[in-house]
């Protein structure tokens, strides 16, 4: 098990290196620069001499290869550079954003698992029933919804009409402010999980070992709890892992809409303002989160299904 973990963690390094190279190259060829981005839709003007000094200060005049080498060397030591925009260390900026991001992602995933898996399970146990139809209609709708539109509808209903929750912001970081963005972010994974759970459970319900368990006289409840749930869980966990890992990156729209101070909103702002070190830092953070979650999922397989072995 430890060997597996070590091997998985070692795999993260080349993946991260490839991501670093790709992001660096992409932003090097992207038109526009941080300094021209400071123009803010024509709201301010930048003096050419100041621009020149900024370029120098930020090392933007150095050859691409030299900048890349410096960046990789610094990243290897945990230094993600200095933000062009704030002139603060990127690591410090990320540190301020990671906790709100994690809170949002965990809350969204909790909502998705609780609602999605339950709905999928109930639908699979009574295929063709009203519950099944309603759950699947809900799942397909959830997959098709735009996060932005759905988020606005949530704001309109729960904040403006019912006055139950605040419509935006971080507040004191508590649950009241977290609920709406978490639902808006979690509705997509929830729908996917509902469909996946339904399919996985239906598949297991028709398996030989379930038929054998029933023929032995085992109660339906024990069949479901002992055999169906555990076996269906492998596929469900795969989807949970993939969704969980990618949710931090998907949170961009929701974070911006709800003015939630996460990594996603920092990244999108930095992209528009061509703040390369910050964008690179955000992407690295999101990729790292994805890889770590996937490693944990791989390990979880072994725990859930002893038949799975890694060589």
């Amino acid at each position: 098990m430890l060997l597996v973990l070590g091997r998985r963690l070692a795999n993260i390094i080349p993946t991260m290196l490839a991501v670093v190279a790709l992001v660096f190259l992409l932003f090097s060829v992207l038109p526009g620069s941080f300094i021209s981005g400071m123009n803010e839709d024509g709201r301010s003007t930048i003096d050419p001499a100041v621009m020149e000094r900024m370029r120098k200060e930020m090392g933007l005049d150095d050859p691409l290869v030299e900048r890349f080498a410096k960046y990789v060397a610094a990243t290897a030591t945990g230094d993600l550079g200095t933000s062009f925009r704030t002139r603060e260390p990127v690591t410090k900026m990320l540190a301020g954003r990671i906790w709100p991001s994690l809170k949002l992602v965990f809350a969204a995933m909790t909502f998705a698992i609780l609602v999605g898996v339950t709905l999928g399970f109930l639908a699979a146990l009574k295929p063709g029933s009203l519950i099944d139809t309603a759950a699947m209609v809900g799942a397909i709708s959830g997959l098709s919804l735009s996060q932005f539109w759905f988020g606005l509808m949530l704001m309109y209903l729960f904040a403006l009409k019912l006055q139950w929750l605040p419509s935006f912001g971080y507040g004191d970081g508590g649950l009241r402010n977290l609920i709406l963005p978490a639902i808006a972010l979690g509705v997509g994974p929830m729908a996917l999980l509902a469909r996946t759970t339904r399919a996985a459970v239906l598949d297991v319900l028709n398996a030989d070992f379930v038929r054998t368990a029933r023929s032995k006289g085992m109660s339906e409840r024990r069949v479901v709890e002992w055999h169906v749930l555990r076996n269906a869980l492998v596929l469900v966990i795969t989807i949970v892992g993939l969704q969980f890992g990618s949710l931090m990156g998907q949170a961009v729209v929701v974070e911006k809409l709800f003015a939630w101070p996460g990594v996603g909103s920092l990244m999108v702002d930095s992209v528009f303002q061509r703040d390369m070190p910050t964008v690179q830092g955000c992407i690295l953070m999101i990729v790292l989160f994805f890889l770590v979650i996937n490693t944990l999922v791989d390990l979880a397989y072994v725990v859930i299904d002893p038949r799975i072995r890694y060589r």
Partner: protein, 531 residues
């Protein structure tokens, strides 16, 4: 009995009037929840680091500069100095600084702080945006180049008297009223974490910054304006999404909100919301820059004028921009002292446009590439509406869509034939018109490559004129000449619209940027739901 009834009515009327008056007396206390709408975060709370309008929303509360913009009088006014006198040659200014201005750490501001702040801005290794303004002071460039450690044009006479020698006969107020030239305390800056714990001279002191969410500030009791600020607390909430701002405003979670064209229509139509709308013609001119060095037709004044006649700007402003703009007459905005109020915008006259094109040798029109961003008020939707209007007079426009971040770079490189954008056109009329001075490089702001000897002569004369009223008269002529030469299609001046809740009072229609409110003037009445 009848007499008693009249007396009662009279008494009620007096009480009513008293209540109305009481409402106009600023109330102390309360919280204001302003919004910062231009991005999903603040760049920096160190005002020297950032030139962004978004950051200056907070800057107006935390920091102060030598001058500020008096919205009521529509002119510059001294802020950190009680008086200023200029030498006969208009190059040396003696400031009598305030002796009652305290930093939030409790220390009094002195001339040393002004010298420290301007010297810091000129640090050549940093590229602080405010350097473009401080460079006006004699010897500042030497500090920037690293050949001097002190700005020779700044001389401390005593703690509260500062002499400033400048290199150009301009009003220094235009250079030292923005956040990027704010006066900061040396000891706080040198701690090394100034952006995390900004200490300034403003009416509010820093309390909390949750990056990407909000900045919270408390009233500063030692602020130099007696009795101000009125508010106990000021929150600046980041809200980049217009639709979310709309919901939050209607839900009374925020006290002010910037409106886009669609919301402007909805708010004006609503009997309640329409009562809380503040409008101002901001100093931004939206136009199509013609690159005079790109294609032959643009070199002919008649062709450029034809554009202005061929496009029905009023129709576009009313239908597409939903009247959230004022028709542009020329380059300078109406709030400029050098704006000629007798001037009328180009009328919509396609026949005249055709005639001018024929006279210029293009009876069958021509084709050009029009660079644009996605912006709803001065981007692709506008270009798409103009294309058929131009087609009517024979001009074929091929739109080229780019990201808004790239626009400035394209303008600076001259990689465009025509480009639609928004330009800051105030409050310094001379600096604004210098964007058409032949010696101004394209990289600075002469994006059209305009070169006109008569215009240059007028600008030279204006720069030499020490009497500001006479200078404005000369600049008026220069602006009128620009109207005639039409290096751009004069489209519109931005109408900035700020929605505010009924309990908010004292907001200022600031034409330099409506979100830049001097918060010491704002107060909220008892009906405010904010704690």
């Amino acid at each position: 009995m009848r007499k008693l009834a009249w007396l009662a009515i009279a008494a009620i009327a007096v009480i009513g009037a008293g209540t109305a008056n009481a409402q106009q007396t600023p109330r102390k206390g309360g919280t204001l929840r302003m919004t910062a709408p231009y991005a999903a975060s603040f760049g920096s709370l160190d005002p020297h680091v950032t030139p962004r309008a978004q950051d200056d929303i907070v800057g107006k509360a935390l920091q102060r500069s030598l001058y500020n913009w008096d919205t009521a009088a529509n002119k510059l006014t001294l802020e950190l100095a009680k008086s200023v006198s200029a030498s006969a040659d208009g190059l040396t200014y003696t400031f009598k600084l305030r002796d009652d201005a305290y930093f939030h750490n409790g220390r009094k501001m002195t001339a040393d702080d002004v010298i420290f702040s301007f010297t810091r801005i000129m640090d050549g290794s940093k590229g602080y945006p405010g350097a473009r303004y401080v460079r006006l002071i004699k010897g500042a460039v030497d500090v920037e180049k690293g050949t001097a450690k002190e700005i020779s044009g700044l001389k401390k006479i005593d703690d509260y008297t500062l002499e400033m020698t400048i290199t150009d006969r301009v009003d220094p107020g235009y250079y030292f009223f923005g956040g990027s030239t704010a006066i900061l305390p040396k000891e706080e800056v040198e701690k090394g974490n100034y952006a995390s714990n900004p200490v300034g001279l403003g009416p509010f002191k820093f309390k909390e910054h949750i990056p990407g969410s909000r900045v919270v500030m408390d009233r500063f009791d030692k602020f130099y304006k007696t009795g101000q600020p009125y508010l106990d607390k000021l929150e600046v909430l980041i809200m980049a999404e217009a639709a979310a701002r709309d919901v939050a405003f209607r839900n009374k979670e925020i006290d002010t909100s910037i409106l886009g064209p669609a919301q402007y229509v909805a708010y004006r139509a609503d009997p309640q919301l329409s009562k809380g709308i503040l409008e101002v013609a901001e100093m931004f001119t939206r136009s199509m820059h013609m690159n005079l060095n790109s294609i032959k037709p643009f070199q002919d004044k008649r062709v450029r004028q034809a554009f202005n006649y061929a496009i029905d700007s009023n129709l576009i402003i009313s239908r597409l921009v939903k009247d959230k703009a004022y028709r542009a007459t020329s380059w300078l905005p109406p709030s400029s002292a050098a704006f000629d109020k007798t001037m009328k915008p180009y009328p919509y006259d396609p026949e005249k446009a055709k005639k001018l094109l024929a006279e210029a040798g293009f009876p069958n029109g021509f084709e050009f590439e029009w660079t644009t961003s996605q912006n709803e008020s001065w981007g692709l939707p506008i270009v798409e509406a103009v294309i058929p209007m131009l087609a009517k007079v024979g001009i074929k426009a091929k739109p080229k869509l780019v990201e808004v971040t790239v626009l400035t770079e394209i303008l600076m490189k001259g990689d465009h034939q025509a480009l639609i954008g928004s330009s800051l056109t105030g409050p310094d009329s001379l600096a604004t018109l210098r964007c058409y001075y032949s010696k101004t490089p394209r990289t600075a702001c002469n994006y059209t490559g305009f070169n006109n000897a008569e215009f240059d002569k007028l600008l030279d004369a204006a720069a030499q004129e020490g009497d500001m009223a006479k200078r404005d008269e000369i600049l008026k002529k220069a602006n009128n000449l620009l109207y005639d030469e039409a290096p751009v299609w004069f489209f519109n001046y931005n109408k900035a619209v700020l929605a505010f809740q009924p309990w908010v009072h004292g907001l200022q229609p600031n034409p330099t940027e409506i979100t830049h409110q001097y918060p010491e003037n704002i107060w909220v009445d008892a009906s405010s739901p904010a704690k």
